[in-house]
Symmetry: C2
Subunit: 202 residues, 2 copies
DNA sequence: CCTACCGATCGGTAGG
DNA sequence: CCTACCGATCGGTAGG
């Protein structure tokens, strides 16, 4: 989970090829939505980031709403895929949960526009959209809930609250994390210890 | 959709008197800013909530920016006052921190427009404003940092991360909390246990 | 992918 | 506190 990619944007895909124009639009939009939220991000803002005028974006997108949904779904799917792949070969439930947390945190802390700040505040999203997005989110969180349910509960802790606190802690870490002093994995270790998830036992 | 006179709530203050019009404007604005964020809340939205047209609000406010600053400062000041008052007579550092957490959480979970969701996401606030607000926030967090510094650190935990996780956990609880099953204090107990803050000892 | 534009809405003001 | 309006900006479209 060590991030070795540069701070440079215009991030290339894994293989190293140039991103297509459409990918560039999605990435720019993801970054802006993550930074300023839905309402404060204008179509013209997004266009400016990729060197197009606002109206020109409509060759690649159907509407601002649809663009947001697309990015939101892609981010969740990408995170879900990464977690599933990362834990596929692990059998011990504690190790599975620990790995999932580490991967999710790495995603949340990495300045990677593919997943970006996994879309945290839906507050400024219009009424109609919000429900769709929350449904998608619930599906993601179900996966996490299952990972948590597989480990022995911590004594004296309400399982629902435990789950919500852990997930929220992972998801909001990007609000305060500043790269430099600690790596993502070091922060993950702190969070895991806080929630009594001690892999390797020792 | 009962459409009597005003569907408005017109909640009274603690003492039972009518809130002044200015207070009503501040409270409505606080609720809307907390719900949808700065950018997605229009002056006309706020006016609608108190039964005025948008332009009429400018008798009570100087600008949207200034209104937000005012509400933000009031919320932080009010929270700070409540915490200071609540721990003034407590000497044991663990008890002081525990009480402060309980009070802060109660504020964050209460649908009270005076403090409302203590303004969490500054993402949609314009550049210039944001710095001012973050400064104000730092002052508040300093008080909390001192309370934490007074208790013995948890073994193996990074103090800075510990502080950031605890504070973020308290501040984001309103994102998932739904009244009914557990009270604010019961949630607080879960959080305190998670962070090794066990007052009373037995 | 741009020019040129649309209707709607924004924060804010004048003037009573 | 409203009417009536301002210039700016919004999401989005036509037409090339």
């Amino acid at each position: 989970m060590t991030a070795r990619h540069d701070t440079q944007d215009r991030s290339m895909e894994a293989a190293g090829r140039e991103p297509s124009r459409e990918e560039a639009v999605l990435n720019a939009a993801a970054a802006l939505f993550a930074e300023k939220g839905y309402a404060a991000t204008s179509i013209r803002d997004i266009g400016e980031r990729v060197g197009l005028l606002g109206g020109s974006l409509y060759h690649y997108i159907k509407s601002k709403d649809a663009l947001f949904v697309r990015i939101h779904d892609r981010a969740l799917q990408s995170a879900e895929d990464a977690i599933r792949a990362g834990i596929a070969d692990i059998e011990d439930p504690v190790q599975r949960l620990a790995s999932a947390c580490r991967i999710l945190l790495a995603i949340q802390l990495a300045p990677d526009s593919l997943t970006m700040p996994l879309m945290n505040d839906l507050g400024s999203v219009p009424e109609g959209l919000r429900e769709r997005l929350i449904e998608r989110r619930d599906a993601f969180e179900t996966m996490f809930a299952e990972l948590i349910a597989a480990v022995p509960p911590v004594a004296g802790r309400d399982p629902d609250i435990y789950r919500l606190l852990l997930l929220t802690t992972l998801n909001t870490a990007s609000n305060w994390y500043r790269p430099g002093r600690l790596t993502s994995d070091e922060v993950a270790d702190q969070i895991l210890a806080t929630y009594g998830i001690e892999p390797g036992g020792a």
